[in-house]
Symmetry: C2
Subunit: 320 residues, 2 copies
């Protein structure tokens, strides 16, 4: 089943979200508007808004209220991509030139700032002040995650705990908070929105591990870029960390630096694949997936619960 089919009952509300996204980034500054619109039109799965809407279905679902949260979360995700692309010197994203490529790093920096600020402005429409606290705290964590990732580039003396902490901050928190804030904006009980947070957190961890695995096993066509990009850029992910338990592979990986040859990266990819590190990583991802499904089991049955289950499973098994 295709991802979109799993939540087709949200289609009209997702159109509302899409329009609202476009409305929100409208800026008096034509340059800012253009840059933001460019980013928006590059598309994306809008998976965070989907989580927000599905989570809100456990409470008093009112799209006029929920949309603020959904749009805000997607904007924060988008802003973090813009700043990420500056860090990674990325020229392309989703087949489109990045803002830093089409304009420059400076425009990208302030476009990111602007979108962040819009997101925070929007969340203030949610009456529960707890929502603002949660969102701003998530932003703090996101920034710490980003800085830690920069610091740990080409640092081969890091352990698996460091990795988990980093992907929690960089990915899982935002998905967790998408689910939680969807619940909060729909006035669910504390018990429920805490469960929604947990579910999102586990799904997010599973999602990021799969993402990191795909960077080793995906084809250039599937990934839209050559495999091994993380390694090449010095981002040491779970498969690399597991493979480094073998001292020979560890020695090879530790030699990777900014100017490493493509052919050396390819050799290492082959070694990592043979080492069993991919399977071990997938097992961890699956553990997180099972935890996510376990939390979901405690929720009352509904169409939304089924959709969340389907999405979580899809994410846990996706091939690209």
């Amino acid at each position: 089943m295709k991802l979109k089919m799993m939540y087709s009952f949200l289609n009209s509300d997702l159109t509302v979200i899409e329009n609202e996204l476009e409305e929100t980034i409208k800026a008096e500054s034509p340059l800012l508007h253009q840059a933001s619109l460019h980013l928006l039109q590059a598309g994306g799965k809008r998976i965070r808004p989907v989580f927000v809407l599905l989570a809100a279905k456990f409470g008093d679902y009112d799209i006029d209220k929920i949309k603020n949260v959904a749009v805000s979360l997607e904007l924060i995700h988008m802003a973090s991509l813009v700043h990420d692309d500056v860090i990674d010197d990325a020229e392309l994203r989703r087949g489109q030139p990045t803002i830093k490529a089409k304009w420059d790093n400076k425009i990208a920096m302030y476009t990111g700032d602007y979108i962040f600020a819009r997101a925070l402005e929007l969340i203030t429409n949610v009456e529960n002040p707890h929502a603002h606290k949660i969102l701003s705290h998530t932003l703090v964590e996101l920034c710490i995650g980003e800085i830690e990732q920069i610091k740990d580039k080409y640092n081969y003396d890091q352990n698996i705990r460091t990795y988990f902490r980093r992907i929690k901050r960089k990915t899982a928190m935002l998905i967790a908070v998408s689910c939680q804030l969807g619940g909060i904006a729909a006035n669910v009980e504390e018990d429920i929105h805490k469960k929604l947070f947990k579910f999102g957190y586990f799904v997010g961890m599973s999602y990021q591990i799969i993402d990191d695995v795909l960077d080793f096993v995906g084809t250039e066509k599937e990934l839209g870029k050559p495999a091994g990009g993380d390694l090449h850029q010095g981002n040491i992910t779970l498969p690399a960390l597991f493979a480094m338990e073998d001292s020979i592979i560890c020695d090879q990986i530790s030699r990777v630096h900014e100017g490493s040859e493509r052919s050396d990266i390819e050799k290492i990819i082959a070694l990592v694949k043979e080492s069993g590190a991919i399977e071990k990583s997938l097992q961890i991802s699956d553990k997180y997936l099972q935890k996510a499904l376990g939390v979901l089991e405690e929720m009352p049955p509904s169409r939304s619960k089924k959709a969340l289950r389907d999405i979580a499973k899809f994410i846990g098994k996706r091939k690209f």
Copy 2:
């Protein structure tokens, strides 16, 4: 009278603010903590916290509540400086290497993001949700101001209205909001916090115009950098715009570009000084100052009102 003497009765509370600033930027990430601390220790006038505290004196002054606003506003100012230094490729600020110089642009970008996020997290401690709305909206305006400034670099086809709109967004709004939020956090009536906003806005406009004048008339020693820096970097400020009403000077100024010779800049500075543009700019600054003092007159008498008056006058007459 020295600036600090004008509000010496705030001294112990300003120490609280200073400690709180240091406490707030503490991060689990040592790199982030170091970079933020570096910025904090470079000092600064902390004029925004001073405005917050003085404004709060018009209401129920409780330093434990007010400090959240004061620290938040100073953090936003600091974060905007970090991102500004990236844009301007600045190596030094207040005689210290900038974050982008000591580390790099990427660290500077995320340190700025982190400090922004911390500021927003802190403001959620203020119970009145109106405060969150005002602050996030100010951030949006700040970003638009920054982008417009980038867009308008070396653009000689801009008018004085563009200039006023830009300095409103880049400077005056944050000072206005410092005053307003100080009032709101101290539960003043709407009528009072709107006046505080106006006062801050007028002071901020006056302040920025003086700043832009000083860039023409200050000595290298006073400015800590050669005069004419704005012009050289393509920032067309009020004195330049007035001077450009003379077609000969307009022609000269319009030739300034990124690689212009220092000697050409010096010639233009002399022309601008002779043109009467400095005096015209100072008159405008003074008009804003008078408006600020006028708003203040409507406020009930107090020690705090006197301090605000003294500070406004000081800002309007400062030589560096």
